[in-house]
């Protein structure tokens, strides 16, 4: 079975974040934290991404965009919600335009709490996401193999 977890490419989308978490996400890529040593690349392209990193809550404006970005990503894919706003809506939860966390539109795999989430926590969240990413592929492969045996 192929080890695909060595090359997780990240797509970063800023929902309605205050930019606090975005700056921390970018800090992960700087020489201090150097996420690329784990093979993590921040691509701007959903078609090439494996892990969907979302900061900020979901409002009526960006709900469709988040859903479309998620649909454009090829399987297997993992969603990581970064920051408390992306997890639950945070301090903006009761605002008239906020629907809540990212899980109101798409399924979320890893929640990284914090306001703002620390770079260490974000990298840990991605690392957990990577394991799920590999597991999904393994399960899919297993399923395909078993199906092949049945049809034979």
């Amino acid at each position: 079975m192929a080890k695909i977890k060595k090359s997780p490419w990240v797509l970063h989308y800023d929902g309605s974040s205050c930019n606090g978490c975005d700056i921390e996400v970018l800090a992960c890529l700087t020489p201090v934290y150097d996420a690329e040593r784990l093979g993590i690349i921040n691509t701007g392209d959903p078609m090439q991404a494996d892990i969907f990193l979302i900061t900020g809550g979901i409002n009526s404006q960006n709900a469709a965009t988040v859903k479309q970005l998620y649909d454009q990503m090829p399987r297997p894919k993992v969603v990581v919600a970064v920051g408390v706003c992306a997890c639950t809506g945070g301090v903006f939860k009761d605002c008239y335009n906020i629907q809540g966390g990212v899980d109101t539109v798409i399924p979320v795999d890893v929640y990284v709490p914090g306001c703002a989430a620390r770079p260490q926590a974000i990298i840990d969240g991605i690392a957990q996401g990577i394991e799920i990413f590999q597991k999904r592929w393994d399960e899919h492969h297993e399923l395909k193999k078993n199906k092949g045996e049945v049809s034979k």
Partner: protein, 290 residues
């Protein structure tokens, strides 16, 4: 002679992806060190391609895969012909044809980002083509033949001594060909440019893997041309050529990490001026001497 050519050509087809991928891994490692980072493992490009091959294929246009495959086949053919020892001019013509298929592959999706990237790819071709053709002319003037086998196998001093201006022009446009900053205007290895990913925006999973492998073939071929400036029938010249190739590769990484992206008009002007002055002056001197 023919057997030797076939062995070289087959070795190119089989080994070039590994050499190219390894060179890219080293490139990423050195780049990281230049930025005071640890950097990914040297084998990271292979991990990336393995993952891309194992992901679900989503393509906007089914024709894209076919066009990219054609791009790859033509690129392999270019290197095959070069290492077999045929006409160098023909090699570059086949390479340009392949590059046109890359243009089609990205413009066929009708996505605005990849369309603009494709237009810029054509401008890049305009920028590097004069230097490439002049290099062929330079080889002809120095060696009296376009045949790679005869250029590389002659009993002469390295043609680099006669063609330093052509070499400078070729290394200059190599930055464009290898998609290195400041000339990575159509697509970039680095994150987030104004065109998302330019030419490769609409290429996911398998298609991107094909593109990546073709890049490796292309880089090895281009490094072969760099080596051609140094090789003669003497065995030691091969060592000189390999050292020169590694130095040129390091120079490209250094340029990549120490410069910002240019606008396309500036790139076109600069590359033509450099081509005209270094290769042109070299050409005049060569013609006067002969």
């Amino acid at each position: 002679m023919i057997y030797k050519g076939i062995i070289f050509a087959i070795a190119y087809v089989l080994l070039a992806p590994f050499v190219g991928g390894f060179l890219e891994g080293v490139d990423r490692k050195i780049s990281a060190r230049m930025q005071r980072r640890v950097g990914p493992p040297v084998l990271q490009p292979f991990y990336d391609v393995r993952k891309l091959l194992n992901k679900q294929t989503i393509s906007v246009m089914t024709a894209q895969t076919f066009l990219l495959m054609t791009y790859m086949v033509l690129m392999i053919l270019t290197g095959f012909m070069f290492f077999y020892g045929t006409d160098i001019l023909m090699c570059f013509f086949v390479m340009s044809t392949g590059a046109t298929f890359l243009y089609f592959a990205s413009v066929v999706t009708s996505s605005p980002y990849s369309s603009i990237g494709a237009q810029r790819e054509l401008i890049q071709m305009m920028a590097y083509e004069p230097a490439v053709l002049l290099s062929c002319v330079g080889f002809y003037l120095a060696a009296g033949t376009f045949q790679v086998a005869e250029i590389a196998g002659g009993d002469h001093l390295s043609y680099f001594l006669q063609l330093p201006g052509f070499f400078v022009a070729f290394v200059f446009i190599l930055t464009i060909k290898m998609r290195k900053s400041p000339f990575d205007i159509s697509t970039s290895h680095h994150a987030h440019q104004e065109l998302i990913k330019g030419v490769t925006t609409e290429m996911g999973s398998k298609n991107l893997a094909i593109f990546q492998i073709t890049e490796w073939y292309e880089n090895v071929f281009l490094m072969g041309v760099v080596g051609l400036f140094f090789v003669n029938s003497n065995v030691y010249s091969v060592i000189v050529a390999i050292v020169a190739i590694l130095l040129v590769y390091f120079l490209e990484i250094l340029i990549d990490n120490s410069s910002a992206r240019m606008k396309w008009a500036d790139m076109l002007k600069l590359s033509w001026v450099v081509t005209l002055f270094s290769a042109g002056v070299n050409l005049i001197i060569l013609m006067v001497i002969r």
